[in-house]
Amino acid sequence: MTDLDAFRSDTRAWLEANCPTEMRQPMGSEADACWGGRNWTFGSDAQRTWLERMVARGWTVPHWPKEYGGAGLSPSEAKVLKEEMAGIGARNPLYSFGISMLGPALLKFGTDEQKKRFLPEIARGETRWCQGYSEPGAGSDLAGLQTKAEDKGDHWLINGQKVWTSYADKADWIFCLVRTSAASKQGGISFLLFDMATPGVSTKPILLISGNSPFCETFFDNVKVPKDQVVGEVNRGWDVAKYLLGHEREMIAGMGLGATGGTLGRMLKPDDPFLRSEIATFDVDALAFAAMSERFFEMFKAGETHPASPSMMKYAGTELNKRRHELMMSAGGFDALEWDSERSKSGKTARDWLRTKANSIEGGTSEIQLNIVAKHILGLPGA
């Protein structure tokens, strides 16, 4: 038995013994996801137990170093853990932008002090983070952002507005791109961390077409931020921002894989021959995409991927996910259109479908990803 086989059997046994039965059921809605944070109210005892047990084992962030709350697993071990969790249908114990986005950036660019201060809290689900990137005038042209941070000697003074801030109204802290110099577009941006409870911070949820409000407008009115909360160098925040976006794009690309294993056709059992044909076309694309994700994961571990490959994956994965939900709507017919009924779980099919329309916008639009591939991978001129 190899070490990895031994790890697999230990992991399987531990999960079997420790993952509460309720945490092995598919999530009914987004409300079943555990996000943690100062103000978190656990949906059930099982949700709390599951998080606590996984935290104690370092398995909310299995590949992070132990000193920051992780388990120091190798990429292969982390993959085994993921597979074994999927094998019993175990829910993700903690949804967290701290884990998926800020963590990798802090591990790469943070000072030792910043890592010790912020990473363990993220691993334990004690601090919930949000991302302050887009602004009303800076969407695809993100580097055109105007939220200003003035150096006031012993602190930064922040004024401006962010938009599309996911769960800003529920977050404890924000990682935020601010303009610290007007001299250069990309070279005048800094990456700041601050507490959302700081005076001058306010949020306003935005009602979306799905009827939900996961995104907010976030306002900063003379917000004072301590000087040691800059990640990386002042005016070099664009490097941090791009690195983080790579991780965000990989995460979003994962949507291409869908929530369940197997083919869409097996789940939907289409009775219309033309729909069946479209679904089969989709299933070919989806299974091929899954093969590519698997291959690129292995290539990434071996250092064989191009740095811009998350852009290709994000583009392909999100476009695929939008198609998936269009087909689910088509297969659902009249029933999929219900918006409030209990029968439809409050319009889950329709609301999920509408949510996916943002997939190819958030984290950089499909068009931006194609620009990046054209320029950095294909080397096309003037891109």
């Binding site: 059992k269 044909s277 089969a280 299933d283 093969a291 590519m292 698997e294 583009y315 054209a374 294909l378």
Partner: protein, 376 residues
């Protein structure tokens, strides 16, 4: 897995160097077409495949081959596709070698495959589309042997082959898998008429007419009425292989096109500066990566004997064919008028894609198979 090991990377490099040097369009495809070669490929080059050991990729090492598998065959086939190199590699070294694997015919034919002396082919289709279970060509028992009557078409390199693996019906009815038997038919069998045809891509296929072709019982490959087993083995290897070759065709056409975008000027600019073209090229790049991963995954599952390999083989063939079609269509459009000329090489990619797309089942066949295998 999913990552290539060092031996596989070395094999890929060997094949890439060899085929770029010796197998390019000017030296092979265009040359053989222009002199109206009856085989559509060069025997000298095929001998060089043999000298490099490539003819033995799918042949076990205790029978003189390299003892490798579908993944390694895919690596070679991607390079074949990229260079549009005409050769019997797919039909003989992959499909025929895998079809007769483990049967008495392996001992008879493996030495001739390994040395590059013999071309073998598979005769499966009888109508304008791939539909192996619709086999109607009859094989009736006569004495200790069989007598074959019927027709085959789209027999790749059939007129160049010393032996044609022929799918016939010994029982059941067209539409059924049971009752199919595979025969090794020598090219000079009495009553066998072979008509050589050129296809759009200058490759050759044959139409075969069997008129009371008598065969001994030892011509049977595998078991009587259970020919579906060796046939599936050969077809799956062929489908995975054709997928990899299609990925090569897609990648070759796309590389030529991206180069062109960096050279051609209009309106005082390189046309590659236009975002309308950049986005299409970038989309195609991703699709080719996805198709390549699917082709490798299918090959990997075939090698490990995984039960979902059938599904993934169809995913790979459907995906690779549709991506290659996209690639050659974009290539034609982005090359503009020059691409319409016979002098330019890009047209060869368009033609090759069309043939490979139909071989062993087109996108519609394989999409339907994905649905069937997923019970919907």
């Amino acid at each position: 897995m999913a990552l290539l090991n060092d031996d596989q990377k070395m094999l890929r490099e060997t094949a890439a160097d060899f085929l770029a040097d010796k197998g390019g369009i000017a030296k092979q495809l265009r040359h053989w077409r222009d002199i109206s070669c009856k085989d559509g490929f060069g025997h000298d080059l095929w001998k060089q495949f043999a000298e490099l050991g490539l003819t033995g990729i799918c042949i076990p090492d205790d029978q003189g081959g390299l003892g490798l598998g579908a993944v390694e065959a895919a690596l070679v086939l991607e390079e074949i596709g990229r260079n549009l190199t005409p050769s019997p590699f797919l039909t003989t070294a992959v499909v025929a070698a895998r079809t007769i694997a483990g049967t008495a015919h392996a001992e008879r034919w493996y030495p001739a495959i390994l040395s590059g002396e013999s071309v073998l082919s598979l005769a499966v289709d009888e109508s304008g589309r791939h539909a192996p279970q619709n086999t109607a060509l009859s094989a009736d028992r006569r004495g200790n042997g069989f007598v074959l009557n019927g027709e085959k078409q789209f027999v790749v390199q059939g007129a160049s082959a010393d032996m044609v693996l022929t799918v016939a019906r010994t029982g059941g009815s067209p539409g059924e898998r049971d009752g199919i038997t595979l025969f090794a038919v020598p090219k000079d069998a009495a009553g066998l008429d072979i008509e050589n045809e050129a296809l759009a891509d200058s490759s050759k296929v044959a139409r075969l007419r069997f008129s009371n072709v008598g065969l001994d019982a030892d011509a049977v490959v595998g078991e009587v009425d259970a020919g579906w087993v060796p046939l599936s083995r050969g077809l799956n290897a062929g489908r995975a292989g054709a997928s990899a070759e299609l990925v090569g065709v897609a990648a070759g056409a796309s590389a030529m096109t991206v180069d062109y975008l960096k050279q051609r000027k209009q309106f005082g600019k390189l046309i590659g500066e236009f975002q309308a073209l950049q986005h299409r090229a970038a989309h195609l790049y991703g699709e080719i990566e996805i198709a390549r991963a699917a082709a490798l995954k299918a090959a990997e599952l075939l090698d490990s004997g995984d039960e979902i390999s059938e599904l993934m083989v169809s995913v790979a063939k459907a995906k690779a064919a549709s991506v290659a079609k996209l690639s050659v269509q974009e290539a034609m459009q982005m090359h503009g008028g020059i691409g319409m000329t016979d002098e330019h090489d890009i047209g060869f990619y368009v033609k090759r894609e069309a043939v490979l797309g139909e071989l062993f089942g087109n996108v519609y066949f394989h999409r339907a198979r994905v649905a069937d295998l997923s019970d919907y």
